[in-house]
Symmetry: C2
Subunit: 150 residues, 2 copies
Amino acid sequence: MADHLPQLELGNQLCFALYRASRAAVRAYGPVLGELGITYPQYLVLLVLWEADEPMSVGAIGEHLHLDSGTLTPLLKRLQDQGIVTRERDPDDERRVLVAPTAAGRAMRKRAATIPAEVSQQYGVAVSDAVDLIAEIHKIADAIEGTVDA
Amino acid sequence: MADHLPQLELGNQLCFALYRASRAAVRAYGPVLGELGITYPQYLVLLVLWEADEPMSVGAIGEHLHLDSGTLTPLLKRLQDQGIVTRERDPDDERRVLVAPTAAGRAMRKRAATIPAEVSQQYGVAVSDAVDLIAEIHKIADAIEGTVDA
DNA sequence: CCAGAGAAGATCGTGTACAATATGATTGTC
DNA sequence: GACAATCATATTGTACACGATCTTCTCTGG
């Protein structure tokens, strides 16, 4: 009845490997980020804001993370409710909303600096080993997004 | 003010690469799976059921996909509402719920057989190139889950 | 000037994820 | 053979993702 269709096996599917590994990795951040009271996507937003070091529009944040306003707007409101970021209409263009970390949000950066090392050590994946892999995965993401988004 | 902390850069983080690529890949399946009226996680459940070719408990499905009942129960109910699977208590152990594809669910397998090729061709990632990468990503997922789950 | 096109966010609806808790069934032990 | 521990699933609550639509604001050609 069930002739073997190897292309339908889970183990042969890149997408499933990514899906599984992504969820596992995000879960691994859970406890550490829990100390800071934030989630992984919220942490990603903060990484972008810290790096930019100036107020950013919702759209600009979304370009870095490949997320749209449907995801970011409620997430940013939660960060605002926690006093971690501010959200203000851009006086120069009232369509835009500028997001910036508060003093409390900036202060979290020092604690966060040790997080990647903590987690990847817990992984058992050496940071140096990961460099090539990271590049390769981004290359694939580029290829996929080139055909899907755009 | 913002001294450069390279470990906090998005581009250096394996987790973000996985997170981004996973979402992109799942999105790429969207249109094709939309024809079948199912989502990507629902498709994964069907892959498992087709492969097993016999009724499976919720827990057994979850072991293959690394998902728990909190995610699977509502997902399976939606598949049941669409007439794609059946859900029945196991007479031998009333704690268990056995899930099996209906005739309609089994019929979807033929259409599905071409999906991975369609999507990965759209990716621009040759299936043969992906084999090593898939193995490497699963190895990382294993390592992470070994420290987080279990 | 001003209508319409387009941009930027916000909102809505659906479907995951996942931690925490609840519920009912089974099992090992005395 | 009660019964506490354990197991399998369900439920609840919170937070993403994302397609689709809506609102407001800006810009541009006539």
